[in-house]
Amino acid sequence: MRKKVIFPGVALPAALLLPQLLITGIFFFWPAGQAVWSSFLREDAFGLSREFVWFENFAAVLTDPNYLTVVRNTAVFSLSVSVLAMGVALFLAVQADKAIRGATAFKTLLIWPYAVAPAVAAVLWLFLFHPQIGIFGRMLNGAGIAWDYKINGGQAMTLVIVAAAWKQVSYNFIFFLAGLQSIPRNVLEAAAIDGARPVRRFWTIVFPLISPTTFFLLVVNLVYAFFDTFGVIHALTQGGPGLATTTLIYKVYVDGVQNLNFGASAAQSVILMLLVIVMTGLQFRFIERRVHY
């Protein structure tokens, strides 16, 4: 798409584009290219020698049982976060859509968690569930449940999921509410007159009509769970205990920064890159295809 009426000249637009292209080139394409290149190399920890090893890094990564554990963790984590955050948000949005008095106040009160950094959210939940000083941590231990997420992998995963989802509900809430409010009231009234009770109306009319929003949010939530939750994991469990809460992005960090295994880290980055391209590609397909009623 282009405007019909434009300004002449080539030098000026080139100059205007320069800052963004420069930054994109230096800090995006160059490192991305480096990552791809590195993924085909094996380097020793001191960077003294490097060897071109074709797909060996990828093979090593993909056959590493730890990596498969991490893949499973990521799948469990991201699906749980997405479903939890979206389910709660949809439920709250439906209630807020009922045009009750004070709806705007509720809206404000439910939106602000978006502003909290994932890492800070993790810290807040740490306070609640710390086995010694957290109100719920102590409650659980007091009730006879051995609660210590530092040693119990399942508990760690649960905590991390809750902390990550907690933050994301606001974002989903905003979009779901907008989606619900874009459904013409008359259509719901027609359904009521046709004999549909509220629950049936929701599943046969409302839910199908917000499906573009739902798909869009699913992709966004998955991407969030894949990447933006690094801070949550790092602040709360550092990927532990063991590998219990290590996700793909966390492993990239661990391998690259802590273990200095650049080849493996780069290979993982490339795999992640491909995954994201597929996910964002899907997202744009859906946005383009967003059904216009």
């Binding site: 994109t24 939106i111 502003a115 550092q238």
Partner: protein, 295 residues
């Protein structure tokens, strides 16, 4: 008569039930979302002994001012971490970083969007797609090589290093491009007839029209910048440049030494207050910014 009354009562009850459910659910939701903050806020007003013992308070204590003062000025007594950083310094770092990223992103994206929309030159679409592709890859995915580039450019441990790489945002460019496309052709024609060149048109027409979009985007980007975690973690080990979000997590040790929970909680409150305030005060722009950038 009895049947009618039963019907009336049933319909009335149904409506009431629906409303009660709405209020209950929303009220519960608000509580669930406020509770972690509440506990942290309350915790930040008690002394370290109370907290360390596991005496979890539900209401405020008397030590608030001194905890915050301590966090603000020194970052803790240093009983555990010998590298305590004052929250005041960290807040300034975070604020600076967030403002620079937001302002930088907006400025650069405005220029790029303007170039792509209001001109025609060979390579225009190529440039656009190059920018567009950056949407596909968040910084976390290319973190290690990008870090290496920073090392090569000697930009680690610098505010420039923290902010500049995050300034090339495709979402902002897309948003402005979309907006510029809606500026009617007649405006450009009228400007040309008045003798205005592209720069003047930008300054006098395109920019003023974009103000609401800029405000909306600013809220989102400020929060984005403030909440950055992985990038500052890698880029900075000079503690004087520590941002508060990263600094907060470093205060929590995993070892046996006692954590200064009171100071940590105070710092946590300080870490989340500015972005939350921005969202609450600029709520309308914020929502607009979210829904616009995802189109």
């Amino acid at each position: 008569m009895g049947g009618k009354d039963a019907h009336a009562a049933a319909a009335g009850r149904r409506r009431l039930r629906g409303l009660i459910l709405a209020y209950a659910a929303l009220g519960l939701g608000v509580l669930v979302f406020a509770f972690p903050i509440w506990m942290t806020l309350v915790g930040s007003t008690h002394d370290v002994g109370t907290l360390g013992r596991g005496d979890v308070p539900l209401w405020f204590g008397p030590h608030g001012p001194e905890n915050y003062a301590l966090a603000w000025s020194t970052g803790g007594l240093g009983t555990r971490n010998t590298f305590a950083v004052p929250a005041s310094a960290m807040l300034i770092n975070s604020a600076l970083m967030a403002l620079l990223i937001a302002a930088g992103k907006i400025a650069i994206s405005l220029l790029s969007a303007y170039a792509v929309v209001f001109f025609a030159f060979p390579g225009r679409m190529l440039a656009f797609w190059l920018i567009f592709i950056t949407l596909m890859l968040p910084v976390e995915v290319r973190i290690i090589p990008t870090f290496e580039v920073m090392v090569d450019l000697a930009l680690t441990n610098s505010m420039a290093g923290l902010t500049v790489p995050l300034m090339a945002s495709a979402t902002a460019t897309l948003l402005f491009r979309q907006f510029f496309l809606t500026i009617p052709d007649e405006y450009v024609e009228a400007a040309k007839m008045d003798g205005a060149g592209p720069l003047r048109f930008f300054r006098d027409v395109a920019l003023p029209l974009s103000v609401t979009n800029i405000a909306a985007l600013f809220v989102i980007l400020f929060i984005y910048g403030w909440n950055q975690y992985l990038w500052p973690l890698l880029m900075v080990n000079d503690r004087s440049l520590e941002t508060i979000v990263v600094g907060l997590t470093k205060m929590i040790g995993t070892g046996d030494a006692q954590n200064e929970w009171n100071t940590i909680m105070a710092t946590a409150m300080l870490a989340l207050l500015p972005p939350v305030l921005v969202v609450v005060l600029m709520q309308r722009w914020f929502i607009r910014g979210l829904t616009e950038t995802e189109k």
